[in-house]
Amino acid sequence: MTDNILLEASGLTRVYGANRAASNINIRLKKGEILGLLGPNGAGKSTTMKMLAGVLAPSEGSVTINGISVADDPKGAKKSLGYLPEQPPVYPELTVDEYLRYCAGLHGVARSARAEAVLRAKQACGLTEMSKRLIGNLSKGYQQRCGIAQAIIHRPAVVILDEPTVGLDPIQILEIRKLIKELGVDHSVILSSHILPEIQAVCARVMIIHRGRLVYSEPLAAAGTEGFKTVLAGFTAPPSADALAKLPGVARVEPLPRQHFRIHIVEGQDPRAAIAAAASAGGWGLVELHAQVRTLEEIFVELTSRDSAAEPVKEAA
């Protein structure tokens, strides 16, 4: 086990009766990494996170936190873990201070260090002003902050946040994002969301879960700058598709409505200059020409709206 990997999950599977909520999910989280877990509603994000947090036992597979197996030594492994479930696990009849002091005790923070831990968590989550308020009287956003404060109060190596910005106003969302980025410096964070810009804003790596399966796992940088595979071109006096296909760097031409073409390129080449030159020479009336970069959103939509009939191949593998 390399000391760089703080959380490792292999072959995580969870079966509810006939329903496979999660199937063969592998996750490796390095120190100081923020990993985004994306997926449509009901894709299995929360189930996966519950298994990572040791709240739900996986039907198959194993989770290791900080080198300690959750199944063999749950207490030891959970010491390095902070977890915010979908619903913030707060007690409405306690004050913020009472609640956080309790959480510090539960997570094994030494009695003498508790006051400081509570103070630090409150500062990090912007709760200082609410210390003496009953949690039940706070707004959803502040309750959510209490939940996040609870997850980081013991400075765990791994922080798992299940939809941390749900129910927050836009300002609070920005603040929480900033907080998560700060956490990512000395903790490793797993974050789930179905809000794409959020993942784009804070995560270094993205995993997309669809129907309980991991369908995408790449560094986020790849989604924006991996280059492009298609070029979109529009003409007022369009040439034949064959004429376009003969240009250098063009692999295949796909006619689109309204005199547009999607031009698939040969890997690693850029035919845009050639298209422009040919258009001016042939008088095609070029009105639009741009490379189609795959955004996270496109990747997400493509992967999650894919017909499930195409998937048995993967299942057999």
């Binding site: 040791g54 739900l56 479930p85 619903q87 696990p89 707060v90 306690l94 539960l106």
Partner: protein, 247 residues
């Protein structure tokens, strides 16, 4: 052990910051106050009532504590229903399950927190007969035995209620369920009147029959062990139930 106490302290705090515990204590005290007064007046009007061996500690003390068992049967499900059912409903149970705390520590912590309420009840129940000390000689031993029995009985009722609370996420269903369970153990005393082995078994299992000795000042270790086993069994069942929920 420290973690257990942390859980217990917060549980006790949560019980006593909610108006429920105070309302229950007030109602219990009002009802038992009426019973106490009634018994006292009866004894005063007919001091040589039953026989020469029955003193005021016997008549008032054991009468009061006998009635208290019924009141406790009624209130205990209301107190225990929240323990796990409500936590599951609001999602705060996850906090305990994702913390480095074992299930045994969680269950013991909750139970210890609940027992703070037992002590509050015991203090109220002790105060009433003890005021008689100002005017008469009181057999404190008998009163103490009765209170000790009531503590054991509350532990047993509480443990059973705690277990039922782990079964559901609706506090009201937990209350109805534990009331039903406790009533079954109560009714075993009636079934115990049947002749034969079955009657003997039911008679032995009945929840209150073991209290009768203590109420009359007889300390029998068999009765004490019965209550401790009853309590331990249901706490253990609660641990098993929470463990099975994870997988």
């Amino acid at each position: 052990m420290l973690t257990t106490l942390t859980v217990a302290r917060t549980e006790a705090r949560r019980i006593f910051v909610s108006p429920l515990a105070w309302a229950v204590l007030a109602v219990v005290q009002a009802i038992l106050g009426i019973v106490f007064l009634q018994l006292l007046l009866e004894y005063a009007q007919n001091p040589r009532g039953q026989d020469q061996y029955t003193g005021i500690a016997d008549y008032v003390g054991s009468g009061l504590y006998g009635f208290a068992t019924i009141v406790l049967l009624l209130i205990m499900p209301i107190l225990t229903m929240r323990l796990f059912a409500e936590e599951r409903k609001t999602g705060s149970l996850t906090l305990l399950l994702s913390s480095p705390v074992s299930l045994i520590q969680i269950v013991m912590g909750k139970f210890l927190g609940l027992s703070v309420f037992f002590f509050a009840t015991i203090i109220l129940l002790a105060a009433m007969p003890l005021v008689l000390m100002t005017g008469t000689d009181l057999d404190v031993g008998r009163i103490a035995a009765g209170l000790f029995g009531l503590t054991l009985l509350m532990m047993a009722l509480g443990a059973a209620g705690l277990f039922v609370s782990t079964l559901t996420k609706e506090p009201t269903i937990a209350a109805v369920g534990s009331f039903g369970l406790l009533l079954v153990f109560w009714m075993m005393q009636i079934m115990g009147t049947q002749h034969g082995v079955l009657g003997d078994i039911f008679g032995y299992l009945a929840l209150v029959s073991h209290f009768e000795n203590l109420r009359h000042g007889v300390f029998s270790s068999a009765d004490v062990i019965y209550y401790l086993l009853f309590t331990g069994l249901f706490l253990w069942l609660a641990v098993l139930r929470l463990d099975s929920e994870r997988s």
